[in-house]
Symmetry: C2
């Protein structure tokens, strides 16, 4: 039962099992699952593909094999041929960033897209390219434009994932509560007081500017609760001087001095 919600990936006459596996792995990374091979050079299954898939067996186990490109495309509605060079065929040339939102939009009308990739050494033959609605070409440095097949694939799959899910980081670091202004000002007062005690602010007529600069540095840190406790503890430790290694760390907040 074909899944119309994602493009089917068609590798035409792939040569190296390593590349088939790398494509499968990249598919798994970006939520794709439907892989088809047209006349793979070394037959199927392929142990090297399994090794380089690094656990994307759920994709390799479902690979479909076809004798011809036409057969592999039988249930596709729209076909994009990836190519690194022009073909003198009058077809639109789309970048991944242009094509993937179109493909994502096809989900709503139940259209199935297929992405065609050619053999490693030569790329797609012109006959295969003529089966496609458009060419798909990745912006690259023209001086060194030959992408590895699995590298080209990963760019397309990444862009597909973004078209579908938006550009959202896969995780976020624990968001700690920013330090309150009162806590921050208490630290300023303590820090400036101790620096004043050791005559850091000199000459005296520069002391206000120096304090302002110091506050600006500290504001730039966007300190959170924990950061402020850590900094306070560090300053307090310097003020107090050496203590026995076995003693507890004193990271208590300084007393609040509001207003």
């Amino acid at each position: 039962m074909p899944d119309f919600s994602e493009p089917v990936i068609v590798l035409v006459r792939p040569q190296l099992g390593e590349n088939i596996g790398a494509v499968a792995r990249a598919m798994g990374n970006f939520g794709l699952s439907s892989l088809r091979l047209v006349a793979p050079r070394d037959g199927w299954p392929n142990e090297k593909a399994v090794a380089s898939a690094s656990g994307a067996d759920f994709i390799l186990d479902r690979v479909e094999i076809f004798a011809t490109t036409r057969e592999a495309l039988h249930d596709a509605h729209v076909v994009y041929a990836t190519t690194a060079r022009g073909r003198d065929q009058t077809k639109p040339v789309l970048t991944p960033l242009e094509a993937m939102p179109k493909i994502a939009a096809m989900r709503q009308t139940g259209q199935r897209a297929a992405l065609l990739f050619g053999p490693e050494r030569t790329g797609l033959e012109n006959d295969d390219v003529s089966l496609a609605d458009a060419l798909l070409a990745i912006p690259v440095d023209p001086k060194f434009s030959s992408l590895n097949i699995s590298q080209a694939a990963v760019v397309l799959f990444y862009q597909w994932f973004l078209a579908l899910h938006g550009d959202v980081p896969p995780f976020n670091e624990t968001a700690l509560k920013p330090a309150s202004r009162a806590e921050l000002y208490a630290f300023f007062d303590y820090f400036e007081g101790e620096l004043g005690r050791v005559n850091f602010f000199r000459p005296p007529h520069k002391s206000e500017v120096m304090k302002r600069n110091m506050r600006n540095i500290l504001h730039r840190l966007e300190l959170n609760d924990q950061d402020l406790k850590t900094l306070f503890g560090a300053v307090r430790a310097l003020v107090r001087g050496p203590v026995p290694m076995s003693g507890p760390l004193d990271c208590k907040q300084p007393p609040l001095q509001e207003g």
Copy 2:
């Protein structure tokens, strides 16, 4: 002499030469050239790296080797650590799409960015991560989030290239002149005339609708000069019936019938 116009790529304790080469190749594809290795497991140079670089020798020849991550970052101003998982370190997490325009903008102020990649098996250690200003994380399917190092690299490099050069296809197919409306109408008239002659438009009260549908199909083709000649020749050949194989193809335009 460091080149401040592009980020430097730093692979920390890379394990497989194949991956170093694949990263170098991807750098070449997207116009990057400055590669540094921190304590590569198998030493340097590495024959497997050369093989998988597929011609990116101009990058491998200039690789710089460092003993520690700190040393490799000595001339960087901003450091991004790529990681597939959170580290419980309070750092901003940026996607490639967010980070690369920032890095591209640094060119104007002469700031050098570094992109840190960890060893294949484990990723960056937390000590290396703590040297970075921000984490760089690729949006992936959380169910299968482990990207190959060179696959992660290619996503970043691709996004860097787009930030720098915009999303422009690397080539375009020959743009042929669209057929003029007069040429198109002449073809409509000829085609409809011949179809009328063989009583294609029946029943008669539907003939106008059928002609409109046919014109709509033909408009959708966005025919160019050459397409129109080809289609005209094909229709004319069907109308005339079999001719000797040796005879010339008649792809002349039908006479224009304007107005």
